[in-house]
């Protein structure tokens, strides 16, 4: 990724984030919309494995290993040689492969806007779901009062 500007990386990460959190069906639907005349080959067979999840001592200090998580990864190449990658929590290799194809299409200047356009409604749905969850949580915000002093 030498020379890739920080902003491009950030935008690519944002697309990857949507794919990681999206349901498989939505990614596959988008892929079949976008790659009807495209030959996709695997750079590496899609596979399942583990990533060790790390936290920090006290939340802020040195890293430590909390435990592993199952991860699926895919690496694909489009007919023009553009490579795409995906690493997703979970064991859904097909979903990771669909995301890798979208990652490759995202990098190709001629198809990036189509990918962005296709991911936008998925991102909206994810955001709405997160907002609803945050609203449910917010309703349980509590104010405790100290009773003995009679003040707050």
């Amino acid at each position: 990724m030498d020379g890739m500007e920080a902003e491009t990386v950030k935008a690519r990460q944002a697309a990857m984030r949507i794919c990681a959190n999206a349901p498989r069906g939505e990614l596959e639907a988008l892929v079949s919309d976008l790659v009807s005349d495209e030959t996709v080959s695997d750079l590496r067979p899609t596979e399942k494995g583990l990533v060790m999840l790390r936290g920090r001592i006290g939340g802020e200090g040195a890293p430590f290993n909390v435990g592993e998580a199952s991860v699926s990864r895919a690496a694909v190449s489009l007919s023009d040689g553009t490579a795409g990658f995906a690493y997703h929590l979970g064991r859904d290799g097909q979903k990771a492969r669909a995301a890798a194809i979208l990652d490759a299409l995202w990098q190709r200047p001629t198809t990036r806007s189509q990918v962005e356009k296709g991911l936008a409604p998925i991102a909206e749905r994810l955001a709405a779901k997160a907002k609803r969850e945050a609203e449910h949580t917010a309703a349980t915000r509590v104010e405790f009062f100290t009773m003995t002093r009679g003040d707050n």
Binding site: L53, G55, E60, P63, V66, E68, A139
Partner: protein
């Protein structure tokens, strides 16, 4: 000593068929699906992920179904499965300060930026059985809707850290290796990163008991709950072929910051420490504050040597705690006792027969004492 036996294949096959049938139970009732387990027995699933040391909700649900709800058996299944997969690497350390909060309480600070949020909790329930759940169907009311704010929810220890009254973690050395007990067996004394890894997958019941023992005076640590938070954090991984952090999705974690009184003094390394609150830390997969709190209490008590505190209690003994808190190891060694030990037992029996003959041939101790007195 265990000596192998052979035979019994037919009976073993039949026992496993019977087990499968018992697992299914009454076939006039619908079978439970792993998706139902994941959704409706979520805290059991969380425990299997935490102690199985593998974050994968659907796998943990399958393990619970296969083990008929025996969670330690399910944890064993998950641990065995993880050995079949290659490891791609380690994630970037998760940032719990940026957690999407689902619950967050502090017993020490009433007014926190971001607020105290009860979330889905058993606290303040009356612990009365709800017989409505026994009836078919389980219609629940929609959760109440509040106004979500974008207010940051900084960690409590960051809020009061400025006065220096609460211990801070030293800035990490990015080149320092991270201990991994799944790759390198423990040697005592241990480092704190290794201990936290062991505790994170340690048995909830064992750690709860040890934590309780510290409260009852066996290695008192004067704890307060600085903060407990539960919610989702994003996991990032930097693959070699990309060289930047890839967001892989989110995991749910429970974090506990325990704050403990410390009168000050010299640390084991000679460093002088003013009177301040020290800290114990807990971080666990899923929603389990009982486990996260126990972990934080035990983490602090295992720092006794570091703070040159008197070490007299089980919860302060690294080898005792860390060698015995893994329920897969523990159940393996305890339960192996039920496997055939015929040869071993025959040897012991032979030895006992010899000792018994010698015992019966010798005069009784009382007779011998009288004889000695008479002489």
């Amino acid at each position: 000593m265990y000596v192998a036996v052979k035979g019994g294949e037919k009976a073993i096959d039949n026992a496993h068929r019977l087990l499968a049938s018992k697992r299914r139970g009454d076939t006039s009732l619908p079978a439970i699906s792993t998706a139902q387990i994941a959704e409706q027995l979520a805290l059991g699933v969380d425990r299997v992920m935490a102690e199985g040391s593998l974050y994968d909700r659907s796998l943990a649900s399958l393990a619970i179904r296969q083990s008929r709800g025996d969670l330690i058996e399910a944890i064993f299944l998950v641990r065995a499965f993880r050995t079949t997969l290659p490891r791609f690497g380690a994630s970037e350390p998760v940032d719990t300060g940026r957690m999407q909060i689902r619950r967050r309480v502090s017993a020490t600070f009433k007014d926190l930026p971001g607020g105290q949020i009860l979330g889905p909790t058993f606290d303040y329930t009356h612990r009365l059985l709800d017989f409505a759940l026994e009836a078919a169907g389980d219609e629940t009311a929609e959760p109440a809707i509040g106004t979500a704010s974008d207010e940051a929810t900084p960690r409590v220890v960051d809020l009061v850290g400025e006065e220096g009254l609460i211990e801070r973690e030293p800035a990490p050395d990015p080149d320092a290796p991270v201990g991994d007990i799944t790759r390198t067996p423990l040697e005592f004394p241990t480092e704190r990163d290794q201990r936290l890894q062991v505790l994170a997958r340690g048995d909830e019941g064992f750690l709860l008991g040890l934590a309780y023992s510290t409260q009852r005076g066996f290695g008192r640590t004067h704890p307060f709950v600085g903060e407990i938070r539960f919610g989702a954090v994003e996991v990032e991984f930097v693959p070699e072929e990309l060289g930047f952090a890839v967001p892989m999705g989110t995991v749910e974690l429970t974090e506990c910051q325990m704050v403990n009184q410390f009168h000050g003094g010299q640390k084991a390394g000679g460093e002088s420490v003013p009177p301040q609150f020290t800290r114990g830390y807990g971080l666990v997969f899923g929603q389990s504050e009982r486990k996260a709190m126990s972990m934080a209490l035990v983490d602090r008590s295992l720092r006794a040597a570091e703070f040159a505190e008197q070490q007299s209690a089980p919860a302060q003994d690294q080898e005792f705690v860390l060698s015995h808190c893994d329920n897969v190891q523990a159940t393996g060694f305890v339960e192996h006792l039920k496997l055939p030990h015929y040869v071993d037992f025959q040897a012991e029996l032979g030895l006992l027969r010899t000792l018994r003959q010698e015992y019966e041939a010798a005069p009784a101790p009382a007779e011998e004492a009288m004889r000695e007195a008479a002489e």
